[in-house]
Symmetry: D2
Subunit: 341 residues, 4 copies
């Protein structure tokens, strides 16, 4: 059986596990105040070119989105996001449970357009009833998006510009950041840190057992973020586990190497599907691939491959999703291709 | 340097690490829907004698307290707890951030007395203004308490009885449950499950990298608990990591064996301190030991031992805390004793 | 100058003021526990044919929506509502600030269709990820809607049926309930109480200084609603003011008489506008009338009439709203008509 | 029957009612944007000597406390208050429902001591675990307190100083402000505005039907307070009703005249009780008087007088409260005194 359900089906990259093992019985202080966390944070600051950044390691994605958004918003503010945004769809209302409305923008294959943000502000600021409405207080985007798509560098620059023109922070959900950077021929780590006010770096889906590294290049944007994270239940007692994992991932280019591997294999899968006559539902350059498949083919394939059936597409077909991970080898894709014949 | 700061200074018990390693590259579904979680839950149900229990694995203690309490309370209710309760002191207001008041009861060496619960209800129900007040909706206790003390079996039975007389659930914070059970000559796993409506089993502090197992013997008390946990950011994507760790801990009596080891060594440390002439601040039978030490001795000892200075005790002394863990060996305590001479 | 900005521009109906005056120096207990509130509640139960109903008087609309929705929803649930719903647009995120997502349905001239509710549930229940989503826990509708439109009796019956088929309560925002009932030739007070699980009766916009009467025909749906209302800051100290006003409104058919007066005059205004060649934006039978007006005409008219400019409608026109109230006389509309010539 | 249950048993002062009546059928814009509100705000700024102050009229006390505290606190902060504070006892957990913990200080006859605030900060700032705790973000006091007591001018100055030394705002609950100012021979309106960062002026209990005027001498402390108030359901649609009432109260010294009347009569009642041999429970100079009465006397008196039985005081006695209001005449107290004989 081959599995393409998601990119969190395995444990961690062997080098990450090695790090955890070799330090397992050391004693350190808790809550991320240890040297491993300091060191990992420093490596992240270097890679992303933001020497003064606050770096805080949290455990999971929903938790991170909720905590960061709660930290960025004032109580009368909401967060702008694409209708397809993860926070709007699959986080059980975490943002709202912290008191904030999600102000929905159109999704363009998962992306938010700067012009839609601009239009929102023009309409909001021109509305005589705006004091009875929710103020837009931050913009949430994901890179790559929930549909596997990527912002171009100029799209990111435009979003950053429109946010700063209207004085709101740009927050980038990097739950798959490695795969996005690996797939982009334009956007670099330093671009992310230059254009975003807060972002996070996926560990969970990119080689770690778990963990997300929140980065705020200008730390004053997230005052007392540790305490707010604690309040959100997001601080790990044995915080060093996060530091150790990110330290391993940001040593010897491991993070980008394994991300590239996943993307390369995803594109091979994509080509094979196209060659077999299947139509991509969306043209994704990353490790998530969406196709429209006849339901009969889905049933047949399900005998030997697992993947997610995303949504119906007409009467007899469905949108399906195949996801590769840092652990997907060329041989694994070879087997998949042979199954397609 | 010897370390007695806390019981979360190391990684995990080698058998736990082994389980994680040997399954590391397996692919399973996420969010705890995998077989390892099912198996671990089943073992827990057996050990605690609650065959129908809901078992949900979460990541950390603050998160678990907040999520369970939020699940148990109606919106107009608060939670009763000792003034010294962890939720009231060191969780950054997590319970309140979910909208609920903590209704403070006196702390008797960390414990809540059934008579105080009774008095609270008598006073509340007799108060003509009670509709303008916060309703008591659950009782939170910890076992062992934050001061290392234990409820006797009859104390637990009385608390359970008073809760049920007033129709509120009894919730037991088991962030150190193993150490409590190991130290008690009365209270068993089955007593916990019989007397409490919801409790959780410490992983973080008792042999795991992280993880707390929430148990509700009557699952109808926690409807849609998975979704509420997701909303609280408490669901781990690679949920199997929790199942694997609890499976290891509940195999071959590992959980109780390592808990007993910690308690045995804590009691040796306690004896040695007393023999050296130091006075316990509180008479704790568990892995946390509190002493009143002259500040001069604290300074001297700090050269070779780390521990927490809890609070001032008069002009020249302080309350300090020594904590052992599942990994504290007899040799480690020998070294500590030799330092005391 | 003539004013059609809204239906809350005046004080209260003279008979309401008279009631307040004649009882002004009486002393009664607070918080609505007085006889006037009891009497008013009883009259409401009789008019609406729900003898066992809980009746709770609150102060304003946003407050009432937020409090009732918070009372009806479990913590993992959200409320279904039309995109145009007042709670989704003009309540500054009150529902979200209480922790709940608004699950948006299409607005059909302000109305929700039962088939959209049905589709939502079919899609939600069929979604394998539903445990990561917000559960639909109640349906919010308004009668009349924010666009002045009305549900027919069969539409209401279908909504009631679909809600009960999926076990969620139907909550009707009656911030203009009198005008809706006066305009409908189908829906009666008793229909409202028969088909809705909770609704409220406008005082603010229909003859009172302020006040909304929440009615739950089956009171068990709103346990401890007084305390939850107090928590929401919605309980008036001098509660009798609410009872007195509703008592006056529900004496000698005053509530319906003044509602009908407003609707009659609104329809005269509508006819005059149409006769003058203006096109209704939406065909409203109630006291709110929406027209598309050339911006030049808006400017000219603004010299002698005030009204709300709702939204742009193309380059040179806008949607405008004219609202009559219980205090709008035939002479007032005569003057308006003469201005149109 | 004589009534001393509370100071919100009647309607409004005749001059207030007159204002409402004479403007009743005027049409104004809603939500407090009308001229009456502007005018009333201006009078308040003049009386209190704070020409730049934000003045926002809300409806009731619990609502005002909750909204102001929510506006002042960051999400990781709580509010300091006396254990006896109204927000801690009789507001159904409103502050907590907005996400904030109440950090309890000792109550000294209802008052907070500056030295306790200082001690709290010294202990908090010296606590190595403070990042796991709730930050103190504001101080709540009431004037007069819930026990009818008053801060002296120097006590207020000390509280103001300690708050500003630790950079937190001082918020004064003025739900009975008039009675406090009337009873104090030291503290003036201008002192309140000079020493407090936010306070509010009672309408509900001092001559109005309802209404509280929030005043922030430096408005930048409450950004977008209107929108936050709307979110809290605290904005009255017919906002002018609040402006009209406060305009009347702050015309020709009415507010202070009626407050003084209430205090004068309360002190006569107090003297008579003492002369009759009863002991004050607390020495209150304001319109609330607390006595310890034998339960037999309470029963006897209850035949002709209503008042609140506050709490038991030993076996056979209870603490009772008598409250006068702006409407309590000398004749009314004469009758009471004659009943005592």
């Amino acid at each position: 059986m081959l599995h393409f359900d998601s990119d969190y089906m395995e444990g961690a990259h062997p080098k990450v596990m090695e790090r955890l093992l070799e330090t397992n019985l050391e004693k350190t202080v808790g809550y991320g105040q240890d040297d491993y966390c300091m060191k990992a944070a420093e490596k992240i600051r270097e890679h992303f070119g933001c020497p003064d950044a606050l770096v805080q390691f949290l455990v999971g994605g929903t938790q991170t989105n909720d905590t960061v958004i709660d930290a960025l918003l004032k109580k009368y503010e909401g967060v702008l996001a694409a209708e397809s945004g993860h926070i709007n769809c699959h986080e059980s209302g975490a943002v709202e449970s912290s008191g904030h409305k999600i102000l929905v923008l159109p999704s363009h294959d998962g992306k938010v357009w700067a012009s839609d943000v601009e239009d929102f502000f023009i309409s909001f600021l021109g509305d005589g009833s705006r004091d009875h409405m929710v103020y837009p207080g931050a913009l949430y985007i994901s890179f790559p998006t929930e549909w596997g798509t990527l912002y171009s560098l100029s799209e990111l620059e435009e979003l950053s510009a429109v946010c700063h023109r209207y004085c709101i922070p740009l927050f980038l959900d990097g739950a798959r950041l490695g795969y996005g950077l690996a797939a982009s021929d334009q956007v670099t780590m330093k671009d992310i840190a230059r254009l975003c006010d807060v972002f996070y770096i996926s560990g969970t889906k990119v080689g770690a057992l778990f963990g997300e590294a929140v980065v705020a290049p200008r730390p004053e944007l997230l005052p007392h973020f540790f305490t707010l994270s604690k309040q959100h239940g997001a601080i790990l007692a044995k915080g060093r586990l996060l530091g150790l994992q990110f330290d391993a991932l940001f040593t010897d280019n491991l993070y980008m190497d394994i991300s590239k591997q996943a993307v390369t294999q995803a594109l091979r899968l994509k080509e094979a599907m196209i060659a077999r006559g299947y139509k991509p539902y969306i043209d994704s350059p990353t490790n998530q691939q969406f196709f429209v498949l006849p339901n009969g083919d889905i049933e047949r394939l399900s005998g030997s491959v697992t993947f997610e059936v995303w949504a119906p597409a007409g009467q007899d077909s469905s949108i399906v999703r195949f996801v590769t991970s840092w652990n997907t080898t060329a041989e694994y894709i070879d087997k998949f291709i042979s199954l397609l014949q």
